[in-house]
Amino acid sequence: MVKRQFDYEQRVREIREKLEELNNLSSSMEFDLSREIESLEEKIENNRERRYQNLSPWEKVLLSRHPERPNSNDYISYFCEEWIELHGDRHFGDDTSVIGGIGRFNGQAVTILGYRKGKDTRENLQFNFGMPHPEGYRKIRRLLLQAEKFQRPVITLIDTPGAYPGIGAEERGQAWAISQVLMTLSALEVPVIAVVSGEGGSGGALALAVADRLLMHSNAVFSVASPEACASILWKDLERVEDMARAMKITASDLQELGIVDEIIEEPLGGAHLNFPEMAEKLKKALEKHLEELVSTNRRELLEQRYQKLRKIGEFRE
């Protein structure tokens, strides 16, 4: 049976509860088990560390989709002393699965754009599970061009299952909207830093990943299509999704090796959601460092480097 959710922490919690009960019982009966319990605690912690160092790609998929995983709203609130969300594509609608606006990051005005997942059913419905319609991509493009006009660096946050596959989305040109963002970002005349903070699903996620630097959380994934889709299309066997997740090379370390990801942001033990302040602070430091580098690069050089970075991707025989 393939695991469909990441329940390791749940089981750790259960064991700890049992230990607690044991401890209570033993103290009421005047045994002293504290040394044994301490040693057990240590074992558990060691096991946890080993466990998280050896997560399988599929487990990372599950972790990246964890319902408690910090979302774009969380990071933006942590990063920005000042933040004004801006809305709308000026054509059709305001897509709530995309958040965009201007913030003050470390004293500097930046444009931040991100896909936005919810954390409970209500939020998930409100944000359409983080799956944009064309108007989301058009809001992105509008705010990118505005960032360029006002010479604001851009930070993007990527965490989406992908673009929404629906009738309206196709009617209103999902493919057209995504391609325009790709082209706009490839030549945008300000620094762009992209962060894959959770699930990077397919072309719909890629739209925000064309950047001078691509950072990635250590448990995040980024894939050409979901492992489920690939397993059922290529192997006609959804049960082999774990193998597929491995074969597709979708983890941060795989993608760093492939030259796609520039830096991995190490998550706290157990994942980003177990210690959000630590996670956010690490990411903030990394963003500061890259921003400083990019801001001091001259514009022509910046664009040429981004272009060459994109132009070189791919391997073939000639």
């Binding site: 629906g166 196709e170 397919s202 979708i250 132009r311 791919g314």
Partner: protein, 305 residues
Amino acid sequence: MIKNTFSRKKYFALSRKMESEEEEKRVALPINCPSCSARIAAEALHRNLMVCPKCQHHFSLSARERIDLMVDNGSFQEIDAALSSLDLLDFPGYQEKLEKAWEVSGSREAIITGLATIGGHKLVLGVMESDFMMASMGSVVGEKVCRAVEQAMELACPLLICSCSGGARMQEGMVALMQMAKTSAVLGKFNQAGLLYISLLTHPTTGGVSASFASLADIILAEPGALIGFAGPRVIKQTIGQQLPAKFQRSEFLLEHGMIDLVVERSQLKATLSSLLGLHCGHGDGSYARKRRAKEPSPCPCDGG
């Protein structure tokens, strides 16, 4: 990725002589139209540019067939023919699939690129090959598209890409997905250079190809009845749990929804392309474009050839 939409028999090159008796025999067999079920003599279908004479269903063409149909006779010169895919992720079964595709399609990859003239107008051309792994986009498709764009920039001539694709090639993982960004970036430069890019969408064009180079053109044409979209219809049906509207994601539907300039029947394709190229090359007397060129010399590529 769209499945099974590519299932078609191989027909024959439109302007090449049949080379063996076997091929002659195959050609002679009547063909059932998948749309109206009419039985059509292969010869008749051939004469009609692989369009059903009864219902106008446009049969898929191989890349070579399409090139023969569109360009001036004998004008096509292939470029980058040797570029060929690697199994860069060590992905189970990919090497075998590639080998099979080489055999089945007779091509080294899912796109053929080259120089040609259409109605006397020089251009750079890319035509995707549906028989090659459902014309999915991996490193080689991305690279050949980029090189074709660069070639057109160097020659300052128009670019035409005829797309059909199931999307990014899963077996190359994120490297395949990134080809969307790569081709979009190089087309950004092309657009900045003020040159003409015409995209022809044929059945089916979906996924990563539709959301990158195929829709970034100045003028977008489509063949009648072609399925065009980002998500495949099966995925959409699964997601929303209801029937899709009639003609959903077909060329005519997209025209109505403002996404393409024209639906062009195959019989009109060469004439339409030729006219569009002519209207953009500034050969007419008194052309504003030409006047400006006279002051800022950058001669029309067709002047020389």
